[in-house]
Symmetry: C2
């Protein structure tokens, strides 16, 4: 029998207790021994909970309990999770975590502390909720050089984009619906602005490329400016718009990192991933493209991933099985200005013919687009591959010419 603790009794933490109880027999049999919750840390009181007597408000009750071997950190955020996790690892306890923010910011350090202390720091639940992705990337695809990873890593934004594409709701209407259904928080900034997806792609990139990649190194845009006009133009190209997170190894050895709304063809394996589902598409140089799809969030799926890590930590029995990556180094991530990419641009122009002429003269082989109900003063087009930096320069010159830029979205085809 092995004793564990849960820190943070919110959605995920209470889910861990619930799934451990619901699937008790099969989990024990797979772990090779009984798993017992010894303590639960939360600042709130849960007097009616079946676990009421296990609750403590004092972290030291867990830290100093030598019988507790594994701790599930489901608090989230950096403070106090970072200090708690360090102390637990140094005390010889394995930590399993659903905390993407902490892993994305401090993963290299915590993995290294775990290794030194011969315990494990595992975080399957930090990316893609219940979708198995950390372990497959780390273990099942070990024979591969990872060429790129492309993912739909945020369920809230995917729900919003699905409603915009399929039901022609505006961004604002779709966000309201997501909030009504509990898919978006009251303050949805981290989701719709791309910060949540950013943390997750950083974790995947660090794992795939063996060097810590920080969220601030990622070129990040949210979906808040995507309009139904953009959705319609994308459709006219046989495409859809999704919030895509991408890590890509460039020929110069650097990693290109990007989180942004992107236009992808309907034939892409990611195009049909709808509603709150998440998906991760990995390209390995031996295996080709492999796709993982599932619920990217939610109480039970995320708890399922946390417990998979607990079972692995039990089986590892004080040998270090964690993944490992090195600290960040300055030159690992490429400057986004050097990325070469296709763009879709939508402009407002009083003189559409003049705009068209300017575009045809200044962009490499642009394709002018059209859509139903297109206003007379609107013009949209897609470019060929261009340097991000050149696109920037050209959009500035468009503004100087008096054409108002309405939309600028990357095309991944």
């Amino acid at each position: 029998m092995i004793k564990i603790a849960i820190m943070g009794y919110g959605v995920v933490g209470s889910g861990v207790a619930e799934v451990l109880s619901m699937n008790h027999d099969i989990i024990s049999s797979r772990a090779g021994q009984e798993i017992e919750i010894a303590k639960i840390l939360d600042l709130r009181s849960f007097d009616d909970s079946p676990y009421a007597e296990l609750f403590t408000k004092d972290f030291n009750d867990i830290l100093n309990d030598k019988s507790i071997k594994i701790v599930a950190e489901t608090i989230g955020g950096l403070d106090p999770s970072y200090e708690f996790t360090k102390k637990l690892l140094k005390a010889g306890k394995s930590v399993v975590s659903s905390n993407k923010e902490l892993v994305a910011q401090k993963g290299d350090e915590l993995l290294s502390i775990a290794k030194e202390n011969n315990v494990n720091y595992l975080f399957e639940a930090s990316v893609g909720g219940g979708i198995p992705i950390i372990r497959p990337l780390h273990s099942c695809l070990a024979a591969n050089k990872i060429e790129w990873i492309q993912g739909i890593l945020n369920g809230t934004t995917n729900f919003i984009m699905t409603k915009m594409i399929e039901e022609k709701l505006s961004f604002e209407q779709a966000l309201l619906l997501a909030q009504k259904l509990g898919y978006a928080e009251k303050d949805p900034t981290a989701d719709i602005g791309g910060a949540d997806a950013n943390r997750k792609i950083c974790i995947l990139a660090s794992l795939a490329y063996g060097k810590h990649v920080y969220p601030h190194e990622v070129h990040q845009y949210g979906i808040e400016d995507v309009t139904l006009a953009d959705v319609a133009f994308a459709q006219s190209m046989g495409c859809v718009i999704k919030l895509i997170a991408r890590a890509k190894k460039l020929e110069n050895g650097k990693i290109s990192m990007m989180v942004c709304p992107a236009i992808i063809p309907v034939s892409s394996k990611l195009a049909s991933i709808n509603d709150v589902y998440n998906a991760i598409l990995v390209k390995g140089n031996a295996v080709g493209e492999v796709l993982f799809v599932g619920a990217g969030a939610g109480k039970m799926p995320t708890a399922s991933a946390v417990i998979a890590d607990i079972v692995d930590a039990v089986k590892a029995n004080n040998t270090s099985i964690s993944q490992y990556w090195a600290p960040s180094c300055e030159s690992a991530v490429s400057n986004y200005r050097e990325d070469v990419i296709k763009f879709y641009l939508r402009l407002q122009a009083d003189d559409v013919e003049a705009a068209k002429e300017f575009i045809l003269n200044n962009y490499t082989t642009p394709i002018i687009l059209s859509r139903l109900d297109q206003p007379e003063n609107e013009i949209a087009f897609k470019t060929d591959f261009m340097l991000e930096d050149d696109v920037k320069k050209l959009t500035i010159s468009l503004t100087e010419k008096g054409f108002k830029q309405l939309s600028k979205i990357r095309i991944l085809d």
Copy 2:
């Protein structure tokens, strides 16, 4: 540095050597040490190979070489792989295998021998080629009771069905094309008849439910009788026809096992899996539905999976990390006659009105279907849920009435 051997230098075996060389540095770094091929067993000679001097025709050269710790079995079939694998495991060597036939027939015994000898028997490559599925099912979904597994597990038949659906090729034309492109063997029986998919779903079911399931316990049909008329009727229902392998836990605790062409709605996550791609959809009681997609066969993807197992065996370093399942027991698999399922039936009837009347009187809420270019003497319909046994009785009574049964396909919606 760790020494390995490869047995069988065919497509997969030579792929293992090729990927080990191509991705040498990254594989060594992930394994924690250099992996060196010490011997290759094949009855043929490969004098021009860069590995020419490693070849042997004598299995004992590998068995008796104490420096070899891990052996990749890529021979296939039962004989001599079964005897070879037993001897190697008993000699304290781990074996990694792409041999689905052997795992499906002897998995329980070989896993148990591996456990006794504190070595590992791993077979990620036996199902779904390069798609990570064995390890995710075993490890990442450890917190779940698996409700069912549904898969497209054979690339050849999926290619054929795709060509029938998208390009309206007949079964025979599509098979010829598959053979021309190297996707189907000269004797395609094991693929189109369902035996290959059968072995794979047996491995997944054994793993998910902890008891060995044998291929002869599975209700197996191939795609050879599927016609373009059936494809058209499926389309009229908003569905496609795919060769589906399914393992499902019934409420009575038994496992229902089935490999057959099945009509699935286009909204199913499996409907858009086309060409030679494979996919496995797993329903866990905590995680919900999780989908895995990738190349289900081919030299490099399969080699990628074999090497992932080699890396895991290296890291396990003489501790047993293998999955484990118990020997089969008589009552584990349900009799297919007790399955309750919807059917599509297509008949030839000189008197269509009489056939229609008979159907409406004898089936529970049948729905009569129609398609373009439907011959006057053809009638097709779908039933509500029925016992397989009752369907059998009714098709016999249809024949007795003089209506000729042209098609009978299961509906999974």
